[in-house]
């Protein structure tokens, strides 16, 4: 059964309406802001091209570096069986930099000292460190799904590692590498906070330029046109590639992973266990650098104590808000999944680049809402909009592809979309959806750019940290980021727990 099997959207099962609503939601920042545009506006082609070039260059090299590091990380991971405790620790260590809100990675990198590169190189390094773990874990899983049997046969026949890579691993994994590249490329192209801080003003990307345009003179026309042009260009660049990747797909359902002795890797010809030390050094350096920054804050305990006491309410608010964003992400992800498989919808999701953070937040602000509840819903909506497609691309769409055989069989047996979703897709996907939503919730916990616009005062921990940093109290901000880290961990554990419970039940 080819993975290219697709299903038409229809009114009858509600999928057409649902896709329409989701499309309106994803494009809503543009639609909302249109009424504020004043023609004519200045279109500065040279500036746009320069920033777009910076965006493309940093995203391209970020993706290359992430995939290269990710392949290396995957080879390290497959040295241990998926159930091995070492493997789980390595998994966690690798995904940690990308999994936490960018503020933590930036504190760690900026504390490395004056030698840390800035500009495009700095952005690429930061992105690569943030993304390589996600690439590594996903590639390791794919390698184990696709290559185990070949590896065993190859080992018996006396193939060398190089021969196995050249004749087996490369042809079978090429498509996954391309998918990983596109995934990271899009994440980095839409990234705002890392280029904003690390770009040093001379290597700024289109996302940052859009922010500058809005901030300086309310040049909404320019901001919207730049953002639309970027999204359109990405669509043109990525869509055909996406179609090609889909059409070349072979082997629909995931192959069974052959169980081996716990602790031993499944791929006999690929493991690279010594590489674990390099992973530990990279992540350890970031961790030590971050702790050094935090230590300065805790050394001013007297000043920190009242801030900690005052942070109890923001801690609870951050937890609640992040949990709410996570739930909304889960709901949106399930609605999105309901409308799959559909080639056009999937290609759109894989090629869509959300409007810039500033543009989206201001657009939702135009919906007004004097009450705190409405404003918080709007803030949550913006964060869902900004993160949903990244979460879908990070594994949910891939996992759904693995279920197509079962979905097709269900259809042949007469099940409609709703029944297939309820009986086949939902029970097998909900655990992953909750896990991904937990990651989105962690990102929401660390947000301050969006929540600052929608809330009053320092009601969230991210806002407290940012306020401290903007009022001379930088070392205290570093110390308070630990509290934010703990709350983020609590939110994630809640989702992980839910995911675990659901997984056991299904």
């Amino acid at each position: 059964m080819p993975t290219t099997w697709t299903k038409k959207l229809s009114f009858a099962d509600g999928s057409l309406v649902l896709v329409g609503l989701l499309l309106i939601f994803l494009l809503s920042p543009y639609l909302l802001i249109l009424r504020f545009l004043e023609a004519p506006f200045r279109w500065q082609a040279d500036e746009f091209i320069w920033a777009l070039r910076n965006s493309l260059v940093q995203a391209f090299f970020s993706a290359i570096c992430s995939v290269v590091l990710g392949v290396f990380g995957a080879l390290v991971l497959v040295s241990w069986a998926p159930v091995s405790p070492v493997r789980r620790w390595l998994d966690t260590l690798m995904v940690l930099p990308g999994f936490l809100p960018p503020i933590f990675l930036m504190i760690a990198l900026l504390s490395l000292g004056s030698e840390f590169p800035r500009g495009v190189i700095g952005i690429v390094v930061a992105h690569a460190l943030a993304c390589f773990g996600l690439v590594a874990t996903s590639l390791a899983r794919r390698m184990e799904q696709k290559l185990v049997a070949y590896s065993q046969v190859g080992a018996v026949l006396g193939a060398t590692r190089l021969m196995f890579i050249r004749w087996v691993a490369w042809p079978l994994m090429r498509k996954d590498l391309a998918s990983a590249f596109i995934l990271v490329f899009l994440v980095c192209l839409g990234s705002f906070s890392i280029p904003f801080v690390m770009g040093t003003g001379v290597g700024i990307t289109l996302e940052v330029l859009i922010y500058e345009k809005i901030r300086n003179a309310g040049a909404w026309g320019q901001a919207v046109s730049y953002s639309l042009a970027q999204s359109f260009l990405v669509l043109i660049l990525v869509w055909p590639r996406q179609k090609m990747l889909n059409s070349r797909s072979v082997g629909g359902a995931s192959e069974q992973i052959v169980p081996t002795k716990a602790g031993k890797g499944l791929l006999q010809l690929l493991p690279m266990p010594m590489g674990a030390w390099l992973v530990l050094i990279i992540v350890g350096a970031l961790f030590v650098s971050y702790l050094r920054s935090v230590y300065l804050g805790f050394s001013r305990w007297e000043a920190l104590q009242p801030i900690l006491v005052a942070a109890i309410a923001p801690m609870m608010a951050t937890f609640s808000f992040a949990a709410a964003v996570g739930c909304l992400l889960a709901l949106t992800a399930l609605l999105t999944i309901y409308c799959l498989p559909n080639r056009r919808w999937e290609n759109f999701l894989m090629s869509y680049l959300a409007p810039s953070t500033a543009l989206s937040a201001f657009a939702f602000l135009t919906l007004g809402g004097a009450s705190g509840v409405v404003r918080l819903f709007l803030a949550a909506g913006v964060l869902v909009l900004l993160n949903i497609t990244a979460l879908m691309r990070m594994g949910l769409i891939r996992q759904l592809k693995d279920l197509r055989l079962q979905m097709r069989l269900a259809e042949i047996l007469g099940a409609g979309r709703a029944l297939t979703f309820r009986k086949v897709v939902y029970p097998q996907m909900i655990s992953s959806v909750l896990y991904s939503s937990g990651i989105g919730a962690v990102w929401a916990a660390g947000d301050f750019a969006v929540t600052r616009l929608f809330t009053r005062g320092d009601t969230m921990l991210g806002l407290v940290v940012q306020s401290l940093a903007s009022g001379y109290r930088l070392e205290l901000a570093g110390a308070m980021s630990v509290v934010l880290l703990l709350v983020s961990a609590a939110v994630f554990l809640a989702f992980l727990g839910a995911s675990y419970v659901v997984d056991k039940k299904s």
Partner: protein
């Protein structure tokens, strides 16, 4: 079962948002009292800034509630007002700087706030432009450094090109930060536009970082990643009061220094206009000005207030540049275009 879990999770999410919203709404305190909506930037309205103390002082007597609505930075305040629309508009706006005045006056009609009863600090009185928006604090922009670190103090903009400062300077991006915009204007005014272009191209080779805002640059400075950064003459006061350190200094340049003035205004379509006027009066009173000075580490505009503080009175008085045509929006756009060209290497 799974469906139940999902429904339960969504319910928890919705309830969490509602609880959070109620907590937010409850911050509005007494619903029967009139509410004065004040738009301000984060470091004014947050608990470390002067906002909460001014609010508490005012609410003791006004039988009203001050509601601060924050924007992440002063550049976004006007955008926010524009998008929020007149029905959600503020009764008062705090934190616009001199570069925002022309846009602010063009975008909105403002009520007149009288400065007649405020004895103005003679150091700033002449620089205050004729506008319905009035200043509430000011600062002198300067390069700050640690005495223990610099080989010799800097005395001019050209000193920033010294070889011992290669990769040891952090400046702010003029396109995303007010101090950055001040620095760009400073260089252009001191050197003229052509020489400034040459100078800035050379400086870009020299700097360690061009940060998006003041806090990032100052963070690099306090972590000793860089030796100097653009800040204010009052910055060393913070380190003296909070850390007991005398090591920090602002350096006087022969070119003279730009001043940054922060303004407050009352939009003509305000709903609680009288209360807003009273709150403005409190901010400009001796007590209000003292709070602003001590919490924002900026100079008060009211004469005599800084003199009462030993530390603030001891801040060296640098030669300042008069406010000029640079305030015009068109001029600033030209400057930012120049910056855009320089950073593109064009």
């Amino acid at each position: 079962m799974q469906r139940l879990v999902l429904i339960f999770a969504v319910l928890i999410g919705v309830v969490a948002l509602l609880v959070l919203g109620v907590v937010n709404v409850s911050r509005l305190d007494r619903p029967d009292w009139p509410k004065v909506k004040v738009f301000g930037y984060g470091s004014f309205t947050n608990s470390w800034g002067p906002g909460p103390r001014l609010k508490a002082l005012f609410e003791e007597t006004c039988q009203c509630t001050i509601e601060f609505i924050e924007s992440s930075d002063s550049g976004f305040i006007l955008q926010r007002i524009k998008l929020d629309g007149p029905e959600h508009g503020p009764d008062m706006v705090i934190g616009l700087d001199q570069f925002d005045l022309e846009i602010a006056e063009g975008q909105l009609a403002w009520q007149k706030i009288s400065l007649n009863l405020v004895p103005l600090d003679p150091d700033i009185a002449a620089a205050i432009p004729d506008s319905p928006l009035v200043p509430f604090d000011w600062g002198v922009v300067a390069l700050v450094a640690r005495r223990s670190e610099l080989l010799a103090p800097l005395t001019s903009l050209d000193d920033l090109l010294r070889s011992d400062l290669i990769n040891r300077i952090a400046i702010q991006n003029p396109a995303s930060s007010s101090p950055g915009q001040q620095f760009l204007t400073w260089v252009i005014r001191a050197k003229g536009i052509e020489a400034a272009e040459t100078y800035l191209r050379a400086l870009l080779q020299q700097v360690h970082s061009i940060t998006p805002g003041w806090s990032e640059a100052y963070g690099l400075f306090t972590k000793r990643v860089v030796a100097t950064t653009v800040s204010y003459t009052t910055s060393p006061v913070y380190h003296k009061i909070e850390e007991g350190s005398d090591d920090y200094m602002a350096m006087e340049f022969v070119e003279g220094h730009p001043v940054q003035i922060e303004f407050l205004g009352i939009p003509a379509n305000c709903r609680q206009c009288a209360l807003a006027q009273e709150f403005a009066a409190l901010m400009l009173s001796a007590a209000g000005q003292k709070i602003i000075m001590e919490k924002s580490y900026m100079f008060p505009i009211r004469a005599g207030v800084a003199a009462e503080s030993e530390i603030f009175a001891a801040v060296p008085k640098f030669k300042t540049l008069p406010l000029g045509q640079d305030l015009k929006q068109a001029q600033q756009e030209r400057y930012l275009d120049l910056w855009s060209r320089i950073r593109r290497g064009g």
